[in-house]
């Protein structure tokens, strides 16, 4: 009798662990599991009625109130161009070309999906704030203090090992050709320069 109850309890506990851990892993696997473009990922079904249960869960976790792709496309990067995870202790250079969209921005988020505290209170760069080169391209510097061209701070204070962070590229009112060809868009490159 006791042995039977213990077996049932074992099944329930095991199922709880398997079910909840795997679900949490799936939910946290990110918004961009459906489509990859360089270091950037997205799911074209974000916000739409055709979104999969996993896409909806990922939106609820890391992109609540996201608009559908004809209104706004959201690309997320958690790694650089070599596939290494982005870390607040490192400096990165983003090089981008003009994007066929009404307005764009690149924002830095901490591992908790919120804006990172920094002395400059600067969290993003956008189409209306970046300085551009002669060919209308741009460079964005992402590093602990936010120094350099069009800098965005990651807030790393030099102690400890740094923490993961992510970037979100928003394309508001993208041209139809843009949101119909998300895999082939020329998106900013993300190159690691140094780490402290």
């Amino acid at each position: 009798m006791v042995s039977g109850l213990l077996k049932i309890l074992g099944v329930i506990v095991g199922a709880l662990i398997i079910g909840l851990v795997s679900a949490w892993w799936a939910i946290n696997s990110g918004l961009g599991s459906a489509l990859q473009n360089g270091a950037w990922s997205t799911d074209p079904a974000i916000g739409s009625e055709t979104a999969s249960p996993y896409a909806r869960a990922a939106v609820a976790r890391a992109g609540l109130l996201a608009l559908n792709k004809s209104e706004t496309v959201y690309f997320t990067a958690v790694r650089d161009d070599t596939g290494e995870a982005l870390s607040t202790k490192c400096s990165y250079r983003l090089n981008g070309k003009p994007l066929a969209t009404r307005w764009w921005s690149i924002t830095v988020y901490g591992a908790d999906h919120y804006l990172i505290p920094n002395e400059a209170n600067r969290y993003s760069q956008a189409m209306n704030t970046v300085t551009r080169d002669a060919e209308n391209g741009f460079t964005i510097s992402v590093n602990p203090g936010g120094s350099g061209a069009n800098g965005i701070p990651t807030g790393f204070d030099g102690t400890g090992e740094g923490t993961p962070f992510s970037l979100t590229l928003r394309l508001y009112n993208p041209d139809e050709e843009t949101y119909s060809n998300l895999e082939s868009l020329s998106l900013p490159t993300i190159v690691k320069e140094t780490c402290s």
């Binding site: 709880l16 209104e71 924002t107």
Partner: protein
């Protein structure tokens, strides 16, 4: 007869069911928390103007610091909701609506709006539409959800003007 293969199979099947239920329920759980949170602060069918996003903003994940947001949580199970807002000039503005499963079931932006003011009526059922003539009708796929007004801060020297503009947005239970 050995019991462990059956126990293992039962554990995996039950774990799989729990996985599916959790993934399916999670979006509604998060949206319900958001709607309930707004309801506690200002009520349903009432606009709340979020301060500009900073590192202290914790209401919604991944906020854009380049936009200012006005939110209105709704429950149209019994009564329709009239939504209106002035449309700012020369900057991005949108009015969007989200169902209780996170779906963005309606969005319109400034370039699609011919007038200086946007006005729509949100209902749950078509039979609520009678007698609500005038503004365009939007049928919500769920009784509860969220309406969000986004305004792009096109330049810092326009912040006061754009902020004052968005304060005129309204949600009104009919």
């Amino acid at each position: 007869m050995k019991a462990w293969p059956y126990l293992l199979a039962a554990t995996l099947i039950l774990g799989g069911i729990l996985h599916i239920v959790t993934v399916l329920a999670f979006p509604s759980f998060v949206m319900d928390r958001l709607v309930s949170g707004v309801e506690e602060q200002v009520g349903l069918g009432v606009v709340a103007h979020a301060p500009r996003a900073t590192d202290e903003s914790r209401t919604v994940v991944r906020p854009s610091p380049d936009l200012i947001y006005t939110i209105c949580a709704f429950d149209v199970s019994e009564q329709a909701l009239r939504i209106s807002a002035p449309v700012p000039k020369d900057t991005y503005f949108s009015l969007s609506m989200f169902a209780d499963n996170t779906d963005n079931f309606f969005v319109v932006n400034d370039r699609q709006l011919p007038k200086e003011t946007v006005e729509v009526i949100l209902v749950k059922n078509e039979d609520q539409v009678e007698g609500l003539g005038g503004a365009p009708i939007v049928v919500a796929p769920s009784a509860r959800g969220v309406i969000l007004f986004r305004t792009l801060i096109q330049s810092e020297d326009r912040f006061e003007e754009l902020n004052a503009n968005r304060l005129e947005a309204t949600c009104e239970v009919m």
